[in-house]
Structure formats: structure tokens, C-alpha cells
Amino acid sequence: MSVARVFRPDNRLAKILDGADPASAQELVAAAEGRVTELGESLRGYVREKLPVILSFQGAREDELFGGCRILGEAALGVAEVAGAANMGAIGEIARGLSAMVAGLDATGAWHSEAVKVHIDALAIVSRGDGARTPENDIVLARLAAMRSALGVAE
């Protein structure tokens, strides 16, 4: 029979509660958000660099899409991880859905090629603008989310 050891480890992180010159959480968050905003141009440049990789699959044949799914998935994940911070949240969300569908191929063997194509087409439309979350883009995102949910895509 295995025995579990239960103990209370030293919480080294607790030191942040007792510092000599603490700042309010509000100040720290504002400073952090400001720094991320300053990264905006470099992040947008990265997203713009990755988008053509994804959009190159627009209109692709089934075998091309399936054969290139790993490249597609990597580009989509990269965009998903970063786009929101660059105020391109709609692009990021579509890319996240794409990445989830490609990841699903590894996890479950399910390949939803028509849904993937619809996502790529939607990405092409949304990226004609600045790719931010707008009421119009949110409608697109909601429809895509409903599609993925209907297909049982794990996100």
C-alpha cells in the first residue's frame, strides 16, 4: 500500500506581502499593461508575419490542407497566444479555434476540414480590418464558436 506524505512547504512567494515599499495592485497592473501596450507594434508585426502562412491554405485542396495541418496549427497557435495583447483579439480568437481543431487531430483523430476552411475564410475577412474585437467581428466569432461546439472540438 502506498503512503502519502502531506506537509506544508515553505512559501517563498509570501515575501511579496511584506516588502518595504509595496505598490498597490492597481499601480502594478497599470504599469504592466502600459509595458505590454508598448510591445504593440512588434506583436502586430509578428501576427502579420504569421497570417500569410495561415491564409496560404485558403482554397487549398483537401490533401494540401491535411498535409500542411501541422504548419497551419503552429502558425495559428503562435497568433492565438499573442494577438489579443496586440489588440487583434478577433484574429487571435479565430486562430485559437483553428489551433484547437488541428490539436484535435492529434488527440482524437477527428479532422474537420470544412470547418477549418470556414475558419481560414473568416480569418481572411477579419484581417482585412485591424482584427480587433468589434460587434461585427464578435458575430463572426460567435458563429465559429457554435460551429466548433457542434463538432465537439475540445478547446
Partner: protein
């Protein structure tokens, strides 16, 4: 005291950040600089992370769950298997763009303390760091699991209250469901 007015001093915190995406790593670095963290080590792979974790003591590890070759969940499992190193019990926050129930449960079962959705919102990350600092939790080390004690407090249920964590159990009923940050937190409470 409201969360935003809490006062914190992260200048002495030593934090390791791990992400294969250079821009994602940049975002994390800048967030931590904004939080006034002075000592951050960063690396871009599970292999580099293992080396740093074996060589230096960190107060917190923030790691991408999705990395090629070796993902953050695997590295977390490795950290939790090394009972002799100082970072054996170091809090681990996994960050990920994909928060399916299945993935979050795997992260939790690997011994992660928390999962935070990407793109990371500074307010959410700071609130999670604050929570880890304020809530010293027992650590369980057994053959099957090594990580924060996930057991609910051992008290009798108040009258009229369902089986514990019924709401959390309901969340895990559908493995395909995307989890919001609040849903994820409920699995770690």
C-alpha cells in the same frame, strides 16, 4: 480591502518564465517588469527549463503548457518528481491558449498550482500570484500524485449543501467545453 488596493512588493521575487514563443515570452517579461519583479530568468524550451530548475531556486515558475518536444505539463510532472531539489514544491502556473477541461485537469494532475489563459491579462496574473502568496497550501507526495493538496477542507457539510464541489464536478462533465478563467480557478480551489 479591494483586490486592486492590496499592496505587494515583488521586487525580491525570483521567477522563471518558460515559453517557446519569443513574443509570448516578451509579453510575460514585460508584465513582470511592470510588477517590479527584478529577478526573472527566461528560457524557451522544456530542456532549458529542467536545467535552470535543477540549478537555481525560484519562488515561482510560469510556463507555457504548449511547447514542441516537451510541453509544460511534462516539465511540471518532472519538477514534482524531483523531491530532493529546492524547486520540488515551487508554485507552477501553466499558461495556455487552450483551456479544455481535459487539458486543465491534466495540468492539475501533473502538479501545477494554477492555469492561466493566454493571452495573459496582467490583472489576472497578478491576482493569481497574490493568491499563491497568501494561501500556503499543504503539499502531497505519493506514488500517484505530487503537488498541491487538492482536498477540500475536512468539515461536515452545512445543511442543504450538495456533495462537495458538485459545481466543479459539473464543469468536468463535458470534456469538450472550453473553460473560462473562473471555471479553471474552480478546479484548483
Amino acid at each position: 480591502m479591494s483586490a486592486l488596493s492590496r499592496r505587494l512588493d515583488l521586487r525580491r521575487a525570483k521567477i522563471l518564465i518558460v515559453d517557446d514563443n519569443a513574443h509570448s515570452l516578451d509579453i510575460l517579461s514585460q508584465i513582470l517588469l511592470g510588477f517590479r519583479v527584478r529577478e526573472t530568468k527566461s528560457c524557451r524550451s522544456g530542456a532549458e527549463a529542467r536545467e535552470l530548475i535543477g540549478a537555481q531556486i525560484f519562488d515561482l515558475i510560469i510556463m507555457d503548457a504548449e511547447m514542441p518536444d516537451e510541453d509544460g505539463i511534462t516539465v511540471t510532472r518532472h519538477i514534482r518528481s524531483q523531491s530532493k531539489i529546492p524547486n520540488f514544491t515551487t508554485p507552477v502556473i501553466l499558461v495556455t491558449a487552450h483551456t479544455s477541461v481535459d487539458k486543465v485537469v491534466k495540468a492539475r494532475d501533473a502538479g501545477a498550482n494554477l492555469v492561466v489563459r493566454k493571452p495573459i491579462a496582467p490583472a489576472i496574473l497578478l491576482s493569481r500570484i497574490n493568491w499563491l502568496a497568501r494561501n500556503s497550501r499543504d503539499f502531497v507526495s505519493s506514488d500517484d500524485y505530487r503537488g498541491p493538496d487538492r482536498r477540500f477542507k475536512n468539515k461536515p457539510l452545512p445543511e442543504g449543501v450538495d456533495e462537495r464541489r458538485a459545481d466543479a464536478l459539473a464543469l468536468t462533465a463535458s470534456l469538450d467545453r472550453k473553460m473560462s478563467q473562473d471555471d479553471i480557478d474552480a478546479l484548483f480551489d
